[in-house]
Subunit: 268 residues, 3 copies
């Protein structure tokens, strides 16, 4: 089943029309750019982490994004309460295991979240995904030293074991449910020179899963959007500062034509 350009576009248009609320419990570094990314595509972000309100936020949300980038015990508690509320309500949960493999605290927190509820998607870089799959792994802090295409098997193992979709970002993004895999060759190296682009991908995935019940294809559509926008922004910018500005502008104004000209995907 190949990727259908019209379905990518349809998801993008539906997000603009429905403006789904995406509940983010995420890290301090990226909160602002995550919110701006979601607003640029027409979604409605909300950031809330307190035990006293996360279940009320889940009640009004269409998806939940958990990101462990600057975690601490009270935030993990909020994540677990939100996870269970989201599972009860039946809305999709996306986990971004930032820095898994870099410290045991992060690796264990990611596993603990996966064990306490049903996560639909794990989105991370190759080091994070390999580490959660149980491989001996190389990380460089929160950056990956591994190549996503070299870690396909680990992604499949992790997806199969957790019955979820794994979206592994890199030069080529690999998206797999353990059986089928989608490879997305869009993107640009400047994306790794701006903090929070991976976290923005995770949050934007929350918006796509709010409007597309096919998890594998919802992830692929989000990854295509991120990759194509990254290429356009890289051509227009002078460096990482202007890259991020062009990225937000392009997220807001992207046309079907621009996707068609650049989309580069294969499905196995």
């Amino acid at each position: 089943m190949p990727i259908d350009l019209q379905c990518v576009w349809s998801d993008i248009q539906t997000i603009k029309k429905m403006s789904p609320i995406v509940h983010n419990i995420t890290n301090y570094v990226v909160m602002e750019s995550t919110a701006n990314g979601l607003l640029a595509i027409g979604a409605s972000p909300i950031m809330a982490h307190a035990l006293d309100e996360v279940d009320d936020i889940v009640k009004i949300a269409s998806s939940l994004v958990l990101n462990i980038g600057t975690l601490s015990p009270s935030w993990i508690q909020g994540m677990v309460v939100a996870l269970k509320a989201a599972n009860s309500k039946g809305i999709p949960i996306i986990l971004d295991p930032v820095g898994a493999g870099a410290t045991s605290y992060r690796t264990e927190t990611a596993h603990s979240i996966l064990n306490q509820g049903t996560v639909k998607v794990i989105r991370g870089n190759a080091s994070e995904i390999a580490s959660l799959s149980g491989s001996q792994t190389l990380t460089k802090g929160v950056d990956s030293l591994l190549n996503a295409t070299d870690c396909q098997n680990q992604a499949k193992i992790l997806a199969s074991r957790n019955r979820c979709v794994v979206w592994m970002s890199g030069k080529t993004d690999v998206i797999t449910d353990g059986q089928s895999s989608i490879f997305i060759h869009n993107g640009h190296p400047l994306m790794s020179k701006v903090t929070g682009m991976g976290c923005m991908a995770t949050a934007i995935n929350g918006a796509f899963l709010a409007v597309n019940q096919n998890i594998l294809f919802g992830c692929a559509h989000a990854a295509i959007l991120m990759g194509v926008v990254g290429e356009i922004a890289a051509e227009k910018c002078k460096g990482p500062g202007s890259f991020k500005i062009e990225f937000l502008d392009t997220l807001y104004s992207l046309s079907l034509n621009e996707i068609e000209e650049r989309i580069c995907v294969n499905v196995l």
Copy 2:
């Protein structure tokens, strides 16, 4: 009593000259852009939330901004201590009840702050204001589903009950002390596509109230600044990314002429 353009300009010049310290206890998402907005108009922002120092910060501040956008119990404690210290010192307090109506935690926290001290201004969107006034209300997370002009009565009720000024943002901003109301028709829809523009308005209001003791007109002048700058930035930008950059550049360089050409206000 109509709005006097020279008084708007005089407030802006006084802020640049005096550089008042505005103490912000605000949310994680907007801290950076709030600080940059205040710096751009010549004010001196300080962000501090710890119980151990909020009263010392109030001692050196000219106004206090409380924003409940990503609240948690320890932050609320800091807000209440700062509120009482600011009341003792007699500096103005501005409350931004982000998400009031969306969760009972936020609604109750906003009411609790209002009950424990004297707040000079409540600035929020129509859903937040309607919710605090006691109306049954519609919110979409932290975004409003209501129109400010349709909620004038709720704003007046809230202002009268709390003996404060209510600044309700929207397509038209409504500013009222319960008796007089000022309607500001400046602004641009792109302002809702960038996170933290409402929070920046609240913080910039802190700078205006530090130099203008007439609360109603201090709010109106701040709202005119925000709206005019938003229109100019929207004309110069290509999307929400560059909008925010143009907004900060224009805040920094705005001229009396540019305000005069665009100001669109009526007073009832």
Copy 3:
């Protein structure tokens, strides 16, 4: 011993090649721009503050940056654990005492950190440095009311007492180990109209000290980079919004020629 342009350039190239991990425990306001500044020069930032993982992060880091800009008790605990771990491992620690002198909580926290471990560099504005040296001092919140060149003696006293280097930022930056002093006349007033430029200098210093064991010259090279990039960005921008974008773009692309044309240093 004068500043050697080739050594400045060599440090910049080594950072790009080695991509050292800089561990930051810093304030909420500047986390994103700090991370983006470090990424732009080719370093690998990581933000982590939890007691449960700071020592594991130190294990993989090449330097540690402690910044007290939005401090609270649990963050101070994390800083102290990280400080001791970094001392055990022998990696350099840079302290940014944001707001020292403005509240006793900040002044005491800075002293407490200095007393519990060995800090290689204290980087602050003149008010912060004067306050830590024990002088009666004037601060305006987190901004300085003093001139760095007027506070040379306080910087020397602080450096000598703590056997560290003090980098005092201002119109002229003063860098001293108590004996030798380096004066860097680069920079631009717009740098004080954008939040977090001082914090970015501190973090970028972390990258320089990861590749240059001469602390005094490592600081001077970082200060030259910041000052030269600030001048170039100021010429290209329209205000503080675009200044920050140009700053990040220039950090990323700065050439040896651009440094040579502008470098303005003297050593005493």
